[in-house]
């Protein structure tokens, strides 16, 4: 059964496989964060409800150029520090405010992320969401993302760092749906609720 747990809350007195956001003390497993845990699962882990973006290798992120220096660009990826992209890595000249989609190729001990394959995003809009909830926007095997793209006819990229970039289609509707998912991310049957949301929106027009 899923329930909301708070930091320091006891999850299990027996040994279990350890998942994310838990710690062990004197043989018992506790939650590290405010989040959702399922005590019927065979592993103990917590899905956080809040939290800053912590870069992980392989993450796709939507970054914003915050600084232009001689050797390259300081990219804001909504984490603790900026990431740096050398000028040689991008085909065109970037300026402050430009949006860049890239992949996290490495994270050092200081949690600084190295970015690779930067790709400039033209036009469109960015919606910021709680970083830990982006998996809900993507869904299992990208199912939620597909639902969003179909329902709005938009081109969408979801950055794990809590930024959704979209272009064309019904951006106003997309913003509303994204907000809806944000607010209901921890509830069950979310896909159905989102489908209903789209149906109602179409009717309204």
């Amino acid at each position: 059964m899923k329930k909301i747990v708070i930091p320091g809350e006891l999850l299990s007195v027996e040994r279990k496989r350890l998942g994310g956001n838990v710690f062990v003390s004197e043989g018992k497993i506790y939650s590290k964060v405010l989040g959702i845990s399922d005590d019927e699962s065979d592993s103990a882990s917590v899905v956080p409800l809040q939290g800053k973006y912590i870069p992980q290798v392989e993450d796709t992120v939507v970054g914003v150029v915050g600084r232009v220096v001689f050797a390259g660009y300081g990219i804001n990826i909504n984490s603790f520090t900026e990431s740096f992209i050398p000028k040689s890595a991008v085909r065109e000249q970037l300026k402050v405010g430009d949006l860049v989609l890239s992949k996290v190729s490495n994270v050092n001990e200081m949690r600084e992320a190295e970015l690779s394959f930067p790709k400039r995003l033209f036009g469109g809009e960015v919606v910021e969401v709680t970083p830990v909830r982006t998996p809900r926007l993507i869904g299992k095997n990208g199912s939620m993302l597909e639902l969003l793209a179909k329902g709005t006819n938009s081109e969408i990229y979801i950055g794990k760092n809590g930024r959704v970039w979209a272009r064309n289609g019904n951006l106003e509707l997309l913003k509303k749906v994204v907000l809806f998912i944000e607010e209901n991310s921890f509830k069950s049957n979310l896909t159905n609720s989102v489908e209903d949301f789209f149906k109602k929106a179409v009717k309204g027009n």
Partner: protein, 277 residues
């Protein structure tokens, strides 16, 4: 209470406190999490007449740079009181008492937060008292702890605080101003990590015997645990799980989820097909 307090109050005789509470009873306490939209985490707390706001910003880059610690996050706590939060106006600007309280509050939170997880960053914890009546520092610490959890900060436990001490010839919990002003008053703000009962904040003002302390510490820890229950509820209330249906949704908790994310990342990398009308 009228100014002419010549009446000698003796709690051992009255068996009840001036405001009617039992000796180990805390004043009404209510907490709401997530009240300051700009903050990473926040809480508003009312405890008796005390009203405080707490907000957390971080982990974020530590500035100025020389304050950063390469091994862990640095907690920067600031306790302030609004000029109108006290009976006699408090001049704007932090005084020495504010500085001391800021220091002990920050130090109380250090053991609770997994600071080693965020080297070279700072966690800003700001508390503002807008109305007060004894016990504002434990109110602020209690609120700050909720704000940290609300921010998604990894912690080994919440920090739950209360005041214990002595007034009018009896050992009491959560002294109010009238009791703090008692001739024999002893005021001991105390805060614990509820699971392990580790003490992270402890100060004292007054004269106490060891025997009195032994009694008090037990009652204090019990009172802190009551505070903990209220903090827990405030955090849970912010997010209420949906329908009773226990059906697991697309996203499975645990190892499977990690795999799902990896698959999805690759999906997100491919150009998302533009659905043409």
């Amino acid at each position: 209470m009228s100014k002419n307090e010549e009446v000698v109050v003796d709690y051992k005789k009255t068996k009840k406190r001036l405001d009617g509470r039992k000796m180990d009873e805390i004043r009404p306490l209510s907490i709401k999490a997530g009240v300051i939209p700009n903050a990473d985490g926040s809480a508003y707390l009312e405890w008796g007449q005390n009203k405080v706001y707490a907000a957390v910003y971080g982990p974020r880059e530590a500035l100025p740079k020389h304050t950063a610690n390469p091994l862990r996050a640095v907690i920067k706590a600031e306790y302030r009181m609004a000029s109108f939060s006290v009976p006699e106006r408090k001049r704007p600007g932090p005084n020495r008492r504010d500085m001391e309280i800021s220091k002990v509050l920050g130090e109380a939170l250090e053991r609770a937060v997994f600071v080693e997880q965020f080297p070279n960053t700072e966690i800003g914890v700001y508390v503002e008292v807008v109305d007060s009546n004894a016990g504002s520092r434990v109110a602020c610490l209690t609120a700050a702890s909720v704000a940290l959890a609300d921010a998604g900060m990894p912690m080994r436990d919440l920090v739950s605080a209360t005041g214990i001490g002595k007034a009018f010839n009896e050992l009491v919990v959560d002294l109010d101003k009238a009791e703090e002003d008692a001739p024999d008053a002893v005021d001991i703000p105390i805060a614990i990590l509820p699971n392990s009962e580790e003490i992270v904040l402890l100060q004292m003002d007054g004269l106490l015997t060891k025997k009195e302390w032994d009694q008090l510490v037990k009652t204090g820890i019990a009172a802190c645990k009551k505070v903990y229950e209220i903090q827990k509820k405030a955090l849970q209330e912010k997010f209420k799980l949906g329908e009773a249906s226990e059906k697991l949704v697309e996203e499975k908790v645990g190892e499977k989820k990690v795999n799902t994310e990896k698959v999805v990342s690759k999906e997100a990398n491919k150009k998302i097909k533009k659905v043409k009308k």
